[in-house]
Symmetry: C2
């Protein structure tokens, strides 16, 4: 198969289908609702939302493929990052397609998960893959953290043995709440602008990128099944709300996808599907000594080796 925007989009839609099926099955109650939307300037998306489930309180699995005139800031940024001078008498055109997922579970013992994989093209022969998966447990369970990172390491190693360490470090830096001096969760992998000039061929990077997308469902379903029946208290629920508050802080203050979407007049309800149904903030909350909450906070830092 030739790797072109049509084939990539088609593959992403099929991946969206299979992830939604896997999540519905794991949830056992709720089904995804679908909203198809069009972008005035070109393209559109297929937003799927699941809510009030047995396992999932609120979550989204979103596909989009948009194109049109490249906004000036995007054009500049891409030229800058590729050190290319693009000569064109026409307005430069861009194309971007991807899947974004955020799942907020009911049970505080089940972690929040996020994945984004994206493909980008622009006038001047620019094309690249980007993406990331990261896990945000309300309570960090070391075995689950090891499992999660091992899954990511396995998919990386299969394609390029240098990728896991590099992309794990990138995730530590990216999913960081600077003002709190804490990571959002236990990280994962993050990568951007993978193309022919990055370590290996465009075709091989495409295969790696597909591998990341396919790792999502089996990994998260396993984490759901391990934890969904664990009991929890009101105190656990309240801690979950505070951790979700931090998630909101990250997404609204730092997340580049969110900022980009809001600044370019994207579909707000799709962009902000990442926010939880309920969240909370408490002034100057300090967890009890030797509590599970304190342990979790102590592990929200960069550079921990999980796999």
């Amino acid at each position: 198969m030739e790797i072109n925007r049509e084939n990539i989009s088609a593959w992403l839609k099929q991946l969206q289908d299979s992830i939604c099926s896997a999540l519905e099955q794991a949830d056992g109650k709720s089904k995804f609702e679908e909203d198809n939307w069009m972008r005035e300037e070109g393209g559109g998306g297929r937003t799927r939302i699941i809510r009030n489930g047995n396992v999932i309180e609120k979550g989204g699995v979103l596909f989009s493929a948009v194109h049109g005139d490249a906004p000036p800031f995007l054009f500049k940024e891409q030229q800058h990052s590729t050190a290319q001078v693009i000569e064109s008498k026409e307005t430069p055109q861009f194309f971007a397609t991807g899947i974004s997922i955020v799942i907020h579970p009911v049970n505080p013992m089940v972690p929040i998960i996020h994945m984004n994989i994206r493909y980008f093209e622009m006038t001047g022969g620019i094309r690249w893959f980007g993406g990331g998966i990261d896990l945000t447990p309300h309570y960090i369970n070391e075995n689950d953290a090891k499992f999660f990172h091992t899954q990511l390491k396995n998919v990386c190693d299969k394609h390029n043995v240098s990728y896991y360490n590099k992309f794990k470090e990138w995730a530590d830096d990216y999913f960081y709440i600077t003002h709190r001096k804490e990571t959002r969760g236990i990280g994962g992998i993050f990568f951007d602008r993978l193309n022919e000039s990055t370590d290996m061929s465009f075709e091989k990077n495409f295969k790696f990128w597909q591998g990341v997308g396919e790792t999502f469902a089996p990994t998260y379903v396993e984490l759901i099944n391990r934890n969904k029946n664990k009991t929890f208290t009101e105190k656990n629920k309240d801690w979950q709300l505070l951790r979700r508050g931090r998630y909101v802080e990250f997404n609204l203050v730092y997340d580049k996808g969110t900022k980009f979407g809001l600044e370019t007049n994207g579909r707000v309800e799709s962009i902000l599907m990442s926010l939880p149904r309920y969240a909370g903030w408490e002034y100057n909350f300090v967890p009890e000594k030797n509590s599970e909450e304190e342990k979790t906070l102590s592990l929200l830092k960069k550079g921990i080796t999980w796999a």
Copy 2:
């Protein structure tokens, strides 16, 4: 009395005291807790938080007075806005003092309120007053909205008859959630950089600014007393959570004070006291036809004449 930074700070602390007393009395149950903090680079603050009250679920009345080397971006911005070229062999110094208030009530029929008044000085003879008050009702009550704006108009008119219209419009523009295409609430007044060159003398602007600060307590206490005993349903509470979600979006995405604080390594717990104890997000929420929620949404726009 000479108008200098010491006198201004002292006046603000006394205003903080009187506002806290008035709010404690209106609440009838909870008392403010106080945290005094120091800023490593110079100055500090007196953070007062009230929670779990009869009327107030979570709120803060914060005083601070900080000084030190002006961060380069601040220096540039001030020079630019005053069109002054500051020549100095030493690092330019700044001084900033102010009060910030946000109150999130328990009862959804009581509005959220915010006030900030600030005084700023910098090397080169730069000095100005800024501030604003705005009201965010979960349910807009026209009588209350008129009362609130009339209070603000009265204090403006007493000092300068051109101020209310100008500062009301400024508030409409400032307290605007661009990506939602809605105002945060019913607005109020917002003003910045009032100094000798702004309409009237520095001394007169100081008096106006004091007037704004003194208007806060009687205005909000009246709104509390009008609404605190109104009954409400679970549906009203859930709508309150959604409106608080919008409040969080405004503060984390747009509010300049919050951004400035987070970017300059300010005291996070003080900066983010503005966030509610609980908030919520629902995908694509659409209020029922002819409901109170729909009416409120229809009034969240710029340019409504309330006084």
